[in-house]
Symmetry: C2
Subunit: 340 residues, 2 copies
C-alpha cells in the first residue's frame, strides 16, 4: 500500500469530514439564542419537533404549517403608544388646517391638544377611526410613499432609534426558526395593513401577502388614463379580537397551528388556533420588564394600560387552556438586537 | 495505462453523462404541449424568459412574480351556468321549504321555477345574492363539508363528468409552467372564496391562501365551549370587475405581473396589472369553440351570454393595450385532459 492515499479520494474524504462537522455544528447551534433556557423555550422546541418530525404522531404537512403573529406588543413595542398612532398623530396635525371641525370633535381634538389621556379613553375602536380617517384621501401608492418616508426618519421616544430597529430579537429568532422548519409566518394585527406592509419584509422577513390587518375601503378609479386605488375614509375591516379569526379565515382559509400575541386583542385568535386538533402552540408575551422595555397588565398586579391590555382573565384562560405565558423579564436573555 | 478505467471514476462519468442527457431532455421538453405553436404560445414563453432570466432588462425578482387567474371561464367552464350557480340551485331547492317567501321573490322564484332566463336577467349581482343567501346559516367548517360532498357527486350536464375534471388542460400547464419558473399563482374570481377553496389545491395546485373571491360575512361565536365562524347572509365583498384590483391589493398587497381572464369581469384586473412597469402579460380567453366547449361573446359575432360576457369593447381594449386574446379553437390543441 502506498503511503499517500489517492488524491481524489483524499479530497472526497476531506469534504465528507467538513460536511460532518458542519452538520454537527448546525445541530448544536441554538436556534433561539436570545431566549433563556427553561420550560418556555423548551415548549417551542418540542412543538417544532412534534410538528415536523415525520415519525411524530402529531406531524403536520408543510403546507398546513401556519403560524400567526400579532404585531404591536408581540413583535415590537406598543408603548408609549401604538407606532401607527404616533404616525397618525403627526398626520392629523399636518392635515388639521383642512379640517376645522376636528378642533371640537373627539378623538381629533385630543390629538390637537396633545391630550394622551383623552386619546387612550377613545379606546381601540376610536383610535382605529382616527387612524383610518387620517389615512384616507390619497391613492394606495401615495400612501405607501408617505409611510415609507415616515419610517426613514421617525424615532421611538424612549429608545431614540427608528421603529424599524425595535423588533424583539427573540421573536425575530422565533420567526426565522419556524420558517426554517417549513412554517409560513403571518402577521395578524389590529394595525392597518397598508401601514405595516411597507416595512414587514425588511423588519420581520414577512412578505406583504402574509400580512393581515385592519383596512379602510379602496375604490378603483381611472386618473388621466391610469388606474389607481383611492383610499376612502370608511372602515372596511377591523382585525382585532373576534375579528382576528374572521381575518385568518378570510385571508388564509386554514386554521393556524401556532399563534402568538400579548393582549386581550389576541384572545380569540388563540382560542381559534387552539380549537384545532393535533399539536398546537399558543403563546402570550407578558410585558413585565420596565427596565429593558415596559411593564403593564393589569394582570399579575402590573400597571394598567389602554395600549395592549393584558387582563387577569387572560392569564386565567391561558392557565386553563395550556397557553404559554412568556415573561419578557425572565424568558428573554435579550430584548433588542442593539443591546450589548 | 490499464485497459480498464478506475471503477469509481467510471461511475462518476456515467452519472455525469446521465445528468447531461437528462438536462438536454428537460430543455427540449415543451412545457405547454396542449398549446398550438404560434404567436400566442410564443408570447407566454417570451414573457417567462424576460421575467426570469437574470440578464434580462425586465427581470423580476422571485418574490414579485405574482400571476392572477380568473376561475370561471378561464380555468374551467362557466357554461351552461357558473358551477357555483349549479350548486346554489340545488341548495335553494333543498332549503325552499324553510323559506316560503322565496316563492314570490326574485331571483329565488326563478330557481324554484327552473326559469334560467329570469335567473340570467338577475345579473351577476343578483346571482351573487342568490349564492350568498343560499350559503349562509351554517359554520364555515359545515359549509366546507357541504361543498366537498357536492363536488364528489355533481356532474357537468354537457360533459357528464365531475366538475373537478373540467379544468382546461392548457391552463393547468400554464399554471405549472409559471410555478416552475418561480411565479406564485393566485385565483382571483367573482366566485365565492369558500366555494372554491375546498377544491383549488387538488384541481389547480393552488392552496387556499392563494384564492381570492367574493365572500359573505362571518361571525366568531362560542358554541358549547368551541369556537366557530358562522356564515351570515350578508355580502362582505364582491370580487368582480373593479372589485378585482381592490381584492388583489387587499389580499396580496402587490401588483401582479401577469393576469388571465375571459370576460368583462376581468377588465379592471388586466388594466391594473398592465399599469405596472416592466414586462407584463395580460391574456383573455375567447370561447369560440362550440364543438369542444362553448362559443360566446358577443365579441367577434359570437352568441351573446349572461355568463362570462366578452363584449366587443373588451377586444378593442385588448388590441389597444397589447393584451393577448387566446382563441380556444385555434390556440389550444386540447381543451380537457380526458380528450383523446
Amino acid at each position: 500500500m502506498k503511503s499517500r492515499s489517492h488524491p481524489f479520494l483524499g479530497s472526497l474524504l476531506a469534504l465528507a469530514a467538513i460536511l460532518f462537522v458542519a452538520r454537527q455544528a448546525a445541530a448544536q447551534t441554538d436556534p433561539l439564542p436570545s431566549w433563556n433556557d427553561g420550560p418556555v423555550k423548551q415548549e417551542v422546541i418540542e412543538f417544532v419537533h412534534d410538528t415536523t418530525d415525520e415519525s411524530s404522531p402529531t406531524f403536520v404537512p408543510p403546507a398546513e404549517r401556519i403560524a400567526t403573529f400579532d404585531n404591536d406588543g408581540t413583535l415590537w413595542p406598543s408603548h408609549p403608544m401604538y407606532t401607527q398612532l404616533a404616525f397618525a398623530l403627526e398626520r392629523i396635525k399636518e392635515l388639521a388646517p383642512q379640517h376645522p371641525e376636528w378642533k371640537t370633535k373627539q378623538p381629533f381634538k385630543a390629538v390637537l391638544d396633545n391630550d394622551l389621556e383623552a386619546l387612550a379613553a377613545a379606546g381601540d375602536k376610536g383610535l382605529l377611526e382616527l387612524v383610518m380617517a387620517s389615512h384616507a384621501g390619497m391613492s394606495t401608492s401615495e400612501f405607501e410613499t408617505i409611510v415609507t418616508d415616515w419610517f426613514k426618519t421617525a424615532k421611538h421616544p424612549k429608545f431614540d432609534r427608528p421603529y424599524t430597529e425595535l423588533a424583539y430579537q427573540p421573536m425575530l429568532e422565533l420567526l426565522e426558526y419556524l420558517r426554517a422548519n417549513g412554517f409560513k409566518t403571518y402577521i395578524v394585527s389590529g394595525g392597518g395593513v397598508e401601514f405595516m406592509r411597507p416595512m414587514t419584509e425588511a423588519v420581520y422577513g414577512v412578505p406583504p401577502e402574509q400580512v393581515i390587518g385592519s383596512s379602510i375601503k379602496t375604490k378603483y378609479e381611472m386618473q388621466d388614463g391610469k388606474p389607481v386605488l383611492m383610499r376612502l375614509p370608511e372602515i372596511d375591516f377591523i382585525d382585532d379580537k373576534a375579528g382576528k379569526p374572521v381575518g385568518i379565515n378570510k385571508f388564509i382559509g386554514r386554521r393556524p397551528v401556532a399563534a402568538f400575541g400579548n393582549s386581550a386583542g389576541d384572545r380569540e385568535m388563540l382560542e381559534w388556533t387552539g380549537a384545532g386538533s393535533g399539536a398546537r402552540l399558543m403563546m402570550l408575551i407578558l410585558h413585565d420588564d420596565a427596565e429593558r422595555e415596559y411593564a403593564y397588565g393589569p394582570a399579575k398586579g402590573l400597571p394598567d394600560t389602554k395600549f395592549g391590555t393584558f387582563p387577569e382573565s387572560l392569564i386565567e384562560e391561558a392557565d386553563q387552556k395550556g397557553w404559554v405565558v412568556i415573561s419578557m423579564k425572565n424568558d428573554w436573555a435579550r430584548v433588542f438586537a442593539f443591546e450589548k
